[in-house]
């Protein structure tokens, strides 16, 4: 504690009084010194307080500054709100049949890739991989591991067992990346319709699935739409009917020794395709190489869809269109008698199949039932070439089918460039003009549903589709009655399945040779059926390529009545109950009791 200096120190005052100085000066001096000390003390205190305050501000700003720095230096992490659907975000929609059975779906799998910088022992890895996967070659792999690239794909898809086996190789350069692959659980069923899928842009953590053929490619945008990824694409196909048709058609193809076969089952009111088969077929999980060997035709490949892409001369199945058009134009009725003796246009003379003779005249109904070329030719000449062409175009036979397959727009029907009378006659019985079995099915469906043009579709359609009216209902009914007569008395008696009154038309056409002309012994047999004929609901078209049927003897028969017709009859017998079609007893009794047992 500093000593307090008095204001008037006695010693100095006495000293000043002795010298004669004013002692008040001493008092003022001490007072001033005291004030100065007080001031300096106050300043010190203020300085200290300022120091505390500035330190506090400094601390606060430093904290804020450090926080801002830390926040700015971190990479932002987005809160993942949308990760509920799947671990891999891109997902392709499933494809199901009309009843919800899965036809195509996605499966989680892994791909195998190599970071060559991390490989510890490339020769050993190459050897072990070549041992595990037969399609990989050891020297090729080793070359790719060591030629300087840093990344390479080894396998696109792996099964869990393969993945475990590769994992046990134990090299850190072998890495797995998750991805989804497209799986077709039903194997070869509906192969041409589904087509196939493969990988587009491939990354390590996911890969993009794109459609390659069939409906996978035609509806690729809808299948890849993220908003509709959870909703399966429902086709109009029925899995049971498709399996049955493929089984019976396959058996028929083997029995008739045919090169190929196609079958289409369609609903006549809605245009939905319930089953469409083309044999030989393939497994869409493992699409074969589309490159054909030298000299092979496109139709030899199993990838060729004979029902949609195959354009053939369909033969006598076209005769009903001439008859229907003549009736629609009012030129004939089913009972009108038409010349069946002889027909010649210019220098060309036409004759019947097997040189048969149906008499001088025959009714239109009989002409269709026995499939008379001469009678049909006369009917066609009555119609005239231009009207006939317009009618065939209205039926959709001259345009590619609008069905939802990527191969459909390319299958253009072949027609002669000019349409003189000779072409009018040959087109009436289906020669010189080629069309696909699907176009034929749509045209027959138009006749069967009362005359409204049918647009075939592979997607589920609940309501009957709208179309232009091609013929009146009476003409359509008369045509179906004529087709029924073909089955009861004409060329297709083997198709008379009991209970399903089947109506249809056979067609046998020689296959054209490449350089012009026709083969003698190679035919395409077609049978187009409509059933049940009193109120038609379904159309079935069967087409067989180079079949050889037998009538029980050693003679080979190549007409449709012996090849396509029995196969179609078996198919109708098998699928009728599956569709719930009740076979009809001849005299339908209504609601009366018909049989009672009284034991």
């Amino acid at each position: 504690m500093t000593t307090r200096t008095p204001l008037r120190p006695l010693a100095r005052i006495l000293d000043a009084r002795e010298k004669g100085e004013n002692p008040d000066l001493i008092e003022r001096e001490n007072l001033r010194a005291r004030h100065e000390a007080m001031k300096s003390r106050a300043m010190g205190r203020a300085r200290f307080r300022l120091g505390i305050l500035s330190f506090a501000f400094f601390a606060a700003f430093t904290t804020i500054g450090v926080q801002m720095g830390l926040t700015a230096s971190q990479t932002p992490v987005e809160p993942r709100q949308e990760a509920g659907k799947s671990t891999i975000s891109a997902q392709r929609a499933d494809i199901t049949d009309r009843n919800g059975n899965v036809l195509a779906t996605n499966m989680l799998t892994h791909s195998l890739y190599v970071q060559t910088a991390d490989l510890v022992d490339p020769p050993r890895v190459a050897r072990e991989l070549a041992a595990l996967f037969p399609e990989l070659k050891e020297d090729e792999l080793l070359r790719r591991f060591t030629d300087g690239r840093s990344f390479l794909w080894v396998r696109k898809v792996l099964s869990p067992e393969q993945m475990q086996a590769v994992h046990e190789i134990g090299d850190p350069g072998l890495l797995f990346g998750p991805r989804e692959m497209r799986l077709y659980p039903n194997g070869t069923l509906a192969a041409h319709i589904l087509g196939g899928a493969s990988f587009g842009a491939e990354g390590v953590s996911s890969a993009e699935l794109i459609g390659v053929a069939g409906i996978e490619k035609a509806m690729d945008t809808r299948l890849r739409d993220p908003a509709l990824a959870g909703e399966p694409l429902a086709l109009s196909l029925d899995l049971t009917l498709q399996a049955t048709m493929e089984e019976v058609l396959g058996a028929g193809m083997v029995m008739m020794n045919a090169k190929g076969a196609a079958g289409i089952l369609m609903n006549v009111h809605t245009g939905e395709i319930l089953a469409m088969a083309s044999l030989p077929d393939f497994d869409p999980n493992d699409r074969p190489n589309p490159v054909l060997p030298k000299g092979a035709e496109p139709a030899d490949s199993p990838l060729f869809n004979r029902a949609v892409q195959g354009v053939y001369e369909l033969g006598s199945t076209f005769k009903i269109f001439a008859a229907a058009q003549a009736m629609e134009l009012g030129l004939v009725t089913p009972e009108t008698e038409v010349n069946t003796a002889a027909l010649s246009v210019g220098k060309k003379r036409f004759s019947e199949f097997d040189n048969k003779n149906y008499g001088p005249v025959a009714t239109v109904s009989k002409i269709i039932a026995v499939s008379s070329n001469i009678g049909t030719g006369h009917i066609a000449l009555m119609i005239g070439g231009e009207r006939q062409q317009a009618f065939l175009k209205d039926l959709g036979l001259l345009d590619p089918s609008p069905v939802e397959l990527v191969e459909a727009p390319g299958a253009k029907p072949l027609r002669p460039p000019k349409w003189p009378d000779v072409v009018t006659v040959t087109a009436a019985f289906g020669h010189g003009i080629s069309s696909s079995p699907l176009n034929l099915a749509a045209a027959y469906a138009t006749i069967a549903n009362g005359g409204i043009k049918v647009t075939p579709t592979l997607l589920q359609r609940d309501a009957p589709m709208k179309g232009i009216r091609v013929m009146s209902p009476q003409v359509a009914a008369d045509s179906v009655a004529m087709l029924r007569r073909v089955v009861t008395e004409g060329t297709a008696t083997l198709a008379d399945v009991e209970g399903y009154s089947v109506a249809g038309k056979t067609g046998t056409a020689d296959k054209p040779k490449k350089g012009g002309g026709y083969y003698d012994d190679k035919v395409v047999n077609t049978f187009a059926a409509v059933f049940p004929s009193d109120a038609p609901q379904y159309v079935l078209v069967i087409s067989m390529d180079e079949p050889e049927g037998t009538s029980g003897g050693s003679e080979v028969r190549r007409t449709a009545g012996w090849t396509a017709v029995p196969v179609a009859a078996e198919i109708i017998k098998r699928i009728g109950p599956l569709m719930g079609l009740r076979p009809q007893v001849e005299a339908a009794p209504g609601n009366e009791v018909t049989a009672v047992r009284n034991d």
């Binding site: 990760a83 671990t87 089984e247 009740r582």
Partner: protein
């Protein structure tokens, strides 16, 4: 008095800071839990999709047909035929009871075994 208020305010601020800190970390824990649950849901959805594919594969028509063929002795399954669908009017009525087969006065004090009352079906077996 004023000094006490200063001290109380100071400790109050410390307490609020501690509360904010704990809330922040509780929030982060919840968000992490939510993310973990979403990842689990996604993994389970993938498992469901795999099961659907497995079911479709086991249910494919080729396999079912092969199973039917292999088990033909036991099951004797054949393809359906059109003749198996018939109108109801063609089905036979069950045979009526014989005379005297039904007792005139049933004793209703006990429970009645209705199967035992009917006469034996002459064709035998289930319909």
């Amino acid at each position: 008095m004023r000094g006490l208020l200063y001290v109380l305010a100071f400790f109050g601020m410390i307490a609020l800071g501690a509360w904010a800190y704990s809330e922040n970390y509780a929030m982060r824990a919840r968000l992490a839990e939510g993310q973990r649950l979403r990842a689990e849901i996604a993994a389970l959805n993938d498992a469901i999709a795999t099961q659907r594919a497995e079911w479709a594969f086991l249910n494919r028509p080729d396999r079912l047909r092969a199973l039917v063929d292999v088990n033909f002795e036991r099951l004797q399954l054949m393809p359906m035929e059109p003749g198996q669908l018939a109108p109801v009017a063609t089905l036979a009525y069950p045979a009526p009871a014989q005379d005297g087969a039904l007792p005139g006065n049933l004793d209703l004090s006990q429970s009645v075994d209705v199967q035992a009352i009917l006469p034996a079906d002459p064709e035998g077996g289930a319909p």
